[in-house]
């Protein structure tokens, strides 16, 4: 992959061929405010916050769509850029519900970040008066188009990455919004509830229900189908509170399906077995580990050779290895199988 050299704000920057100016800047640690650019999605160029000045190009091109060119000279700030960005942010804020403190995306909202960066602190335009209905129909996430900035990330991830196309831009001009066929609730669309729209939404327009901030994230592998998607489990205390697709995983590159993303909940379920059970008088009753294991060992030892084990396609390689080793090495039989449904 060939590299190119360009100058951004007087700094010499090296970038990979094929990068946009925005990508080159961000990679070099130069922040340009942006709302609709995303490394997983094709350039879109709608929010216009990432405008820059490029020598030899007329006007203020959006850095998220301009390919970085060798020898390019770019400025990311100038009085014109600053006023323009301030006006853009003010326009967005005029059209955006303003209950930041109560918003699930508070403190991780890109619009807040942009407003702080460009220095918008007061209302400049009259507040939009239209109120759009909140769509609460999905069990996992909520659509509130009063907070939508039409960056299109949800539509694009649903189409480009997930290949579902449950939502689309509907109408045009000022009436444009994100919607489904005949404007129905999301639950009655083709939506497969993967929640990738929520993951990509930079503002509070699409939020996970019962969102909580995690105290840490743990990398692991999804427990459902055989694809083996990379997960980041969000943990708070001793509870798994959310799952996020691992962008570094070569398997899913950040994508998840509904089960991968929301299906972790069983881990916390009240039905979880917490103590060994032994059948006494026909009824399973709680017992101590030592009691249970002694009984198991005693009974199994009695049936050496007349034993069979069923390993698990949900357990680890190490678990299964030990079970077959036990079956073959101790129980002296090759009667070991699993629900190999292929």
């Amino acid at each position: 992959m060939s590299t190119i050299n360009l100058t951004i704000d007087g700094r010499a920057i090296e970038a990979r061929q094929g990068m946009t100016v925005l990508e080159a800047a961000l990679a070099a640690g130069i922040y340009i405010p942006n709302l609709c650019a995303d490394p997983d999605l094709r350039p879109f160029g709608a929010c216009r916050l990432c405008i820059v000045e490029v020598e030899g190009i007329r006007g203020l091109p959006a850095s998220c769509t301009v390919p970085a060119g060798d020898g390019m000279v770019v400025r990311t700030d100038s009085p014109l850029l600053e006023t323009t960005r301030r006006t853009l942010v003010s326009l967005l804020l005029a059209d955006h519900a303003d209950d930041c403190l109560a918003c699930a995306k508070n403190n991780r909202c890109s619009l807040q970040t942009a407003a702080a960066y460009v220095g918008v602190r007061e209302r400049r335009f009259p507040k939009a008066t239209r109120v759009l209905p909140v769509d609460d129909s999905n069990p996992f996430f909520t659509y509130d188009m009063n907070k939508c900035i039409l960056c299109g990330k949800c539509v694009r991830v649903c189409d480009e990455v997930q290949g579902v196309g449950a939502i689309s831009f509907v109408n045009r001009g000022y009436d444009t919004k994100i919607g489904t066929l005949m404007d129905r609730p999301i639950i009655s669309s083709l939506c497969e509830s993967c929640g990738q729209c929520e993951a990509k939404c930079p503002v509070g327009a699409i939020t996970a229900k019962n969102y909580q901030q995690p105290s840490r994230k743990v990398k692991t592998v999804c427990s459902y189908c055989g694809v083996g998607c990379g997960l980041l489990l969000h943990v708070r205390g001793s509870k798994v509170i959310a799952a996020e697709g691992d962008r570094e995983s070569p398997v899913n590159r950040g994508s998840l399906c509904v089960k991968g993303r929301f299906g972790y909940e069983y881990v916390n379920h009240r039905d979880r077995l917490t103590r060994p059970l032994i059948r006494r008088d026909g009824v399973l009753q709680e017992a101590s580990w030592d009691e249970a294991l002694e009984l198991v060992a005693t009974k199994l030892a009695e049936h050496r050779g007349k034993f069979a084990a069923l390993a698990s396609a949900k357990c680890t390689n190490e678990d299964n290895y030990v079970l077959q080793k036990f079956t073959r090495g101790v129980m002296a039989t090759n009667n070991v199988d699993h629900c190999a449904r292929i």
Partner: protein, 548 residues
């Protein structure tokens, strides 16, 4: 898996999932990929929608992928061999095959080609119900993609038949004759159902092989394991799951240990399982919930969920990946490995065997032994897995893993064409049971529902079983949308609400097996593929009646 082992020498997905995106044509057969393997389906959809790949879907039921398909082959259930042989015959007759590849990389071509003689398009059309025009369109699209190679993707719709092994061999023959094995964007790609089915197989949790598919009946590997473990080992084939119940009935098996599985709901002719398990003298179930199977146990041991353990799993593309503990276990529940080791040590002690066999400090140490004894895992260690994992075969600590199998040379040397013939399913509709039941999965539930039913949102999205039935049949039976119906077979009866839809063709009903309230597998047949011992869950004869 036996099918691919016979033809290629290795029974696993040949190409990485991400590589499906590079295919110029895709044949998806017996796989409802978007529901059963949603993220694998993304690569297929991207290939089609963003790179213009041709998509051929072979499925009796209308699935989401049909929306993107250039050709949809709505073959009757149980006619896969005829369908695949028919495609191969057209490819040969129209000269669309890869002569150089066949000559240099394969054997037994002539005998196989001869065996196709009877599979003329007209005959195949009659057997499968697919038009000759669609057969030709599919054969051409698969054999001559506009760009790149052609990939085959399949799942249980191919394997869960009495002819499962033949079905798999037929896909392999098709891929070889068009030069599509051992190349990027090609291959034969079985998608595996559960998070670690591949790993469980790799680890030798099969009655005929030690870890790494080393046969128990072969002296050399047996000697190797005997030496490593310091115990004598049986050279006799063990019982497959599907044979175990019979052995229980016969009294040949007295005790069973079931780790995290729920055969009471997942196995074909499930009543047989429910009936047999109580005959055991002793049943241990290790699980995280009191599953339908655990309820029959003598001892239930509370294990750990994936979020509470550390170890590795191997996905469908042979990628060994790290599972990391995120949270503590609830109550007194213990880590699965710890329980297994404890049971093993205590039992060994009682039998006067060495406990040292199970003296592992943790899962990482277990993997060290696996690597030592399993050539394809030879280079695998927890410390190497990182973000990317490693795809086996990975024989040495320096080996980067193997994304694509059979590059330049098949695992068995030359790819072998194996003639296979169409045979009818074990049970077909008749007067008494006039409809054909086929089973599958839904996106919103998983397997027997043990996990997914305990996620409130998922249960809200799909709260109950719905029997899919064609509008024509619903009219004939006087069944309306949403009405409860009884579905019965020679083996059992269940009740569920009807979903009237032309996703299923007339004469066919579809059900999932996710719901304990509607244990679909009491209906299905226990008939087995003679080689793989997999049950024929995709075809059985049923009748549907109104209830109440």
């Amino acid at each position: 898996m036996a099918g691919l082992a016979t033809t290629f020498g290795s029974g696993a997905m040949t190409n990485p999932i991400a590589d499906l995106e590079n295919a110029g044509a895709l044949l998806v057969i017996g796989s409802n990929t978007t529901e059963a393997h949603p993220i694998a389906a993304l690569a297929i959809k991207r290939a089609v929608r963003q790179h213009g790949a041709a998509l051929i879907v072979a499925n009796p039921r209308y699935i989401e992928l049909c929306r993107y398909a250039d050709v949809w082959l709505r073959a009757k259930p149980g006619t896969n061999v005829a369908l695949l042989n028919g495609l191969a015959k057209i490819i040969l007759d129209e000269g669309l095959w890869d002569k150089d590849y066949v000559e240099s990389r394969t054997e037994n071509f002539a005998a196989w080609a001869e065996s196709l003689a009877e599979y003329t398009p007209e005959t195949v059309a009659a057997i499968t119900g697919v038009s000759v025009a669609d057969l030709r369109a599919a054969a051409r699209a698969y054999a001559k993609p506009k760009q790149g190679h052609a990939a085959i993707v399949y799942a249980m719709g191919i394997t869960q038949h009495t002819t499962g092994t033949s079905n798999v061999i037929a896909t392999a023959n098709l891929a070889m004759v068009t030069g599509n094995v051992g190349v990027s964007g090609g291959g034969v790609n079985p998608l595996r159902g559960q998070s670690n089915v591949q790993g469980a197989c790799d680890m030798g949790c099969l009655p005929d092989v030690f870890p790494g598919y080393q046969r128990v009946t072969d002296a050399a590997p047996r000697a190797k394991f005997e030496e490593a473990w310091g115990v004598p080992l049986s050279g006799e084939l063990g019982l497959a799951l599907t044979q175990m119940m019979g052995a229980v009935d016969e009294g040949d098996v007295k005790a069973m240990y079931i780790l995290g599985e729920n055969p009471v709901l997942s196995e074909g002719d499930a009543s047989h399982v429910t009936h047999s398990l109580p005959k055991l003298d002793f049943l241990v179930v290790q699980d995280i919930f009191l599953s339908e199977t655990a309820k029959l146990a003598d001892v239930v041991l509370p294990g750990s969920s994936f979020a509470e353990k550390t170890g590795t799993v191997t996905n469908t593309e042979r990628r060994v990946q790290l599972v990391n503990r995120a949270v503590a276990r609830p109550g007194e529940a213990r880590e699965d490995l710890e329980i297994l080791l404890d049971v093993a040590r205590r039992t060994a002690r009682k039998l006067g065997l060495s406990e040292g066999l199970f003296d592992f400090a943790g899962s990482e140490a277990v993997m060290e032994e696996i690597a030592r004894l399993t050539p394809s895992y030879g280079g695998i260690a927890h410390s190497r897995l990182g973000d990317q994992g490693l795809q086996w075969p990975c024989p040495t600590p320096e080996h980067p893993g193997t994304p694509i199998l059979h590059v330049g040379k098949f695992t068995r040397g030359l790819g072998r064409f194996v003639p296979v013939g169409q045979l009818p399913p074990a049970e077909l509709p008749d007067e008494e049971y006039p409809l054909l039941l086929t089973t599958g999965r839904s996106l919103y539930q998983y397997h027997t529902g043990t996990l997914s039913r305990r996620v409130a949102g998922l249960d809200q999205l799909m709260p109950e079983e719905r029997v899919e039935i064609n509008p024509a049949d619903s009219v004939a039976l006087g069944v309306a949308e949403g009405e409860p119906v009884a579905v019965s077979s020679r083996r059992g009866r269940v009740v569920a609400k009807a979903k009237v839809t032309d996703r299923v063709p007339p004469g066919i009903v579809f059900m999932t097996f996710h719901f304990a309230e509607t244990p679909t597998n009491v209906l299905t047949s226990a008939a087995l593929d003679p080689v793989s011992k997999i049950q024929e869950l995709k075809v059985c004869a049923v009748k549907v009646e109104r209830v109440g």
